[in-house]
């Protein structure tokens, strides 16, 4: 086929418009390779269609470019980009701007094309600052709260120990009350004698078993080397019923030595360690 007939057949137009079959396309390639005028006509048609489309151009929405670059940048670029770009870079680095990674281009496109992203970035930054401030103030509050918790913990510990001692006191008191409520228990008030008229003690005596409990209400401190001694009076004779600690502290109602059939109780001041028979002055005395 001669070139003129081929050109006039419309095969070139069909080829450019993507309408040619595979066979027709192959023929176009062959003819264009063989005849310069076919090649020239082909290029003219291509340019015409490009210009025609250019005149019919519609600008796509600005954000579309960033979308496309983002889609491409996430996969293809890194895999195959670096090896081949270096050859171009070497050849043209002096005259052309450096080859950029597509991600950079995507970022640039985001910055360049879409004010939305700028606003989004500004808002994100603002939120970050606000968040940082809240973190800071929350952190301060946390410190404060930790301190408060420690204080409360200390108070709690103190309360617990107070409670424990109160609890043991209560238990002791209950035990004392139970003791005093024993039907055979008899209370005897020991009154102050001449040497100490203000002195006072209480005795609780079980008339059946002979158990005796002493409670010191008021007794002057024993002088150095001296100690109070507790006595029961049986058949008119004093019977040793135990020593009172040197510091005079019996801590409440205190069990003493068992004395049966005692008609009276007394406390005398004796040399330290006590006496077989009372030698010192009687401080308190009471009859059953």
């Amino acid at each position: 086929m001669d070139s003129k007939t081929f050109i006039e057949s419309g095969a070139l137009e069909a080829y450019v418009m993507g309408l040619a079959t595979e066979q027709e396309a192959k023929l176009v390639m062959e003819m264009a390779a063989q005849y310069a005028e076919v090649k020239t006509e082909l290029l003219a048609i291509e340019d015409a269609m490009r210009v025609f489309d250019g005149k019919n151009a519609v600008t796509p929405p600005v954000e579309l470019k960033a979308k496309i670059l983002a889609r491409i940048g996430s996969s293809e670029f890194r895999v195959s980009g670096s090896a081949s770009s270096s050859t171009v870079g070497n050849a043209e680095s002096e005259t052309q701007p450096k080859v950029r990674r597509l991600n950079d281009a995507a970022n640039a496109a985001v910055a360049k094309q879409s004010p939305f992203f700028k606003y989004a970035a500004a808002v994100a930054l603002l939120l970050l600052i606000v968040s940082a401030y809240y973190n800071y103030s929350l952190s301060n509050k946390l410190d404060e709260t930790t301190k408060q918790v420690a204080e409360i913990q200390a108070q709690n510990d103190q309360l617990n120990s107070t409670m424990a001692s109160a609890d043991s006191s209560v238990k002791k008191m209950i035990a004392e009350i139970m003791l005093l409520k024993t039907p055979a228990m008899k209370s005897v008030e020991l009154k102050g004698m001449e040497v100490a008229p203000e002195a006072k003690a209480m005795v609780y005596a079980n008339t059946q078993s002979g158990e005796v409990y002493l409670e010191l209400v008021n007794l002057p401190p024993a002088p150095d080397g001296m100690q109070y001694q507790f006595w029961g009076i049986v058949d008119g004779k004093p019977v040793d019923a135990g020593m009172i600690p040197l510091d005079g502290n019996l801590s409440g109602i205190h069990p003493m030595k068992t004395v049966t059939n005692s008609t009276a109780y007394a406390i005398s001041l004796e040399p330290k360690g006590g006496s077989q028979q009372p030698q010192g002055k009687i401080y308190v005395l009471g009859n059953v």
Binding site: R50, F52, K65, P97
Partner: protein, 194 residues
């Protein structure tokens, strides 16, 4: 680029004004140069988008197809052979083929399950009646300055996605006539844009 919003204009002016020759561009694209790809988009997205809108008559679909087009350009760039034609011709035919696939699958989905070519063509025709009536999107139609027979060819073959055989059947004329009219339309079109 005529309708660029004012706020991005300033940034566009700041962008480095790089001009590539077609050879430089193809070489850089082969090297997967992001700047070259960006340049390609800036220079040809409008032409491709305009073509896609005319083909599918739906801006959202056209935008999706434009995305697919550029992704495909990037992915299959290595298959572009400069000896077979211009870069733009290759690109616009990627876009057109995507649009044709979209139209055929839509026609297929809309109930025309018969793969018989006649039915398939008429399905496209029915779903694309609007192709001949795109004024409603408000596009200036350069094609309307052509003679009616030429308009018909461009609308059917270029925007309608018809093959020449399908167009011949649709118009009830011999394939040879369609081919001749295609050439006539293109000659007219070349005069128009000069």
């Amino acid at each position: 680029m005529a309708k660029k919003p004012a706020n991005s204009l300033f940034l566009y002016e700041l962008a480095p004004a790089i001009k590539y020759s077609e050879e430089q561009l193809t070489e850089r694209l082969r090297a997967q140069d992001a700047d070259a790809f960006s340049y390609l988009y800036d220079n040809y997205s409008g032409a491709l988008y305009g073509t896609l809108i005319r083909m599918v008559n739906d801006e959202e679909v056209a935008q999706d197809l434009l995305q697919e087009t550029f992704v495909k350009i990037w992915k299959s760039y290595s298959s572009y052979n400069a000896e077979k034609g211009r870069l733009y011709t290759w690109m616009v035919n990627i876009a057109r083929n995507l649009a044709i696939d979209h139209k055929r699958s839509r026609a297929f989905k809309s109930g025309e399950k018969n793969q018989d070519i006649d039915k398939s063509v008429s399905a496209i025709n029915r779903s694309q009646k609007t192709v001949f009536n795109i004024d409603r999107i408000g596009l200036k139609e350069l094609v309307q300055k052509l003679k009616p027979e030429s308009q018909e060819m461009i609308n059917l073959l270029y925007y309608g996605g018809y093959t020449q055989e399908e167009a011949a059947k649709e118009l009830g004329m011999p394939l040879g006539t369609v081919k001749t009219r295609t050439r006539t339309a293109l000659i007219e079109l070349r005069k128009l844009i000069d």
